[in-house]
């Protein structure tokens, strides 16, 4: 079936991308694979429409982002690192980053995650979210500002300027 053939091709490209995005948010490979499978399944269920979209990739990654966020909400309450937390520990840093992501407004969170964790361009993010390019840049600017504020001014002293691709300095 032609429809199924096109889905297979998209699956080969999108499943690994969705796993990578979810893994960067969740830090749990098994959970990331499950999220990616669910995102692709939802696309498959609507493939007659989703498959023809110009922003198909963004649609799938956006679903993966929101599923990952749902898991983060259920799994981790907003816990800030202790005063003596070691930000050289990548695990603690990811925990702090995930907790900070949850404090963003929904569109900011989606924009930042799709842009830096999903690897989409600003234009692709705009298409996936159905908003203007200017709005994407506004959301990302505000989202990053809040993340930097949440994670502390001293962060850049011990960490690279970016974490998982998200610029924090």
């Amino acid at each position: 079936m032609r429809e199924d053939g096109s889905f297979e091709a998209a699956f080969d490209e999108l499943f690994p991308r969705a796993v990578r995005l979810a893994n960067r948010m969740l830090g749990d490979r098994a959970a990331a694979e499950d999220v990616a499978a669910e995102a692709l399944a939802r696309a498959y269920a609507r493939w007659s429409k989703v498959g023809g979209l110009s922003y198909r990739d963004g649609w799938v990654l956006k679903v993966a982002t929101n599923l990952s966020i749902d898991r983060l909400r259920r799994r981790v309450p907003e816990v800030w690192p202790q005063v003596e937390a070691d930000f050289e520990d990548g695990v603690e840093l990811r925990m702090a980053l995930n907790a900070a992501l949850l404090t963003l407004a929904p569109r900011q969170r989606e924009a930042v995650a799709l842009r830096y964790l999903g690897g989409l361009t600003d234009q692709e993010v705009a298409q996936a979210l159905g908003i203007s390019l200017g709005s994407v840049k506004t959301h990302i600017h505000r989202g990053l500002k809040r993340l930097r504020g949440r994670l502390g001014a001293g962060l850049e002293e011990v960490t690279p300027l970016a974490v998982d691709g998200i610029p924090l300095a």
Binding site: P16, A41, R42, Q82, I131, T138, R146, G149, L155
Partner: protein, 313 residues
Amino acid sequence: MPWTESRSRDEWLSEVRRRGERIRRRRRFTAAVAGSFALVLPLSVVTGYLAGQPDRGVELSVAGPAPVDSVPPDTASPQVPPPPAPADEPAPTTTTTTPPGRAGAGTVSPPPTIPSGDDPVVRSTATTVPLPPLGTSSAGGGGLAAATPAGSSAPAPERCVVSEFNVVISLDKKVYGPGEPVSVSSTLEKKSPGTCLVPDWSLWISLLNSAGTDLTQDAGSTYSSNATDQSEKRDDPCRAGDCLRPVGPGSVYTATYKWEMIDCRNYPTGPVIPVPPDGSHCRPFPPGTYTVVADWHGPDAGAPARATFQIGS
């Protein structure tokens, strides 16, 4: 291709297809149940009514004039229900109407002429409504307009235009004490009668100090809105330019913020110390004039609206 260690590529593809088919079946079942319910409910209403009329024979005719004693037909025209009212909309004490086009921001002028409700498409001017005494509501500002029923044989609604809408900013007070929380809501309100198709518009609120510095992310905020991400709510995904929904007069979108008005930007210096979770490094925002800006986002959206408040000493 770097597939996972847990399953092969074909196994994952089969899993995805299996889940996708389950989603399709669930949607078909839901649609079938909803359709059956829509058929059964009117019949049960009719049957129940007739059951309460024991002396009356039932004659339902498909065509021709209805019998004199038959069930009165439903004469209500299909109407677009007015949007639901915002749940906890405060009595507005500060309102600002948005200009029709993308006029320069920060325009302040003498008190406005409140648009007439009889004018279906009103071009409001850039204004700042003078703050009324505390506890009273401003004239012609926020709140829902009365819904105007659509004509029974009205043509398909057209796409909404910016001039049919107001952006109303409402604050719970005019003057606040240092560190006192500020509750603000911004409502996109359709002021013209009739129905039109609104795209995926939303409002994003910012807080500026007297120097124009954006303090939004530093004010410690909680945020909620009744925004509908139409691309997620619909079965067929759509983008903002394509997601259109019919709206009548009244509120079509509300965003609510509560700012704690404490400045937590001055983080401790020295060795790496994350933000103290107890907020002990935070200070109340200083006295002065602050501006709330409601940015109107979405395709062909209008200009932002502004309102001001004071923090007293």
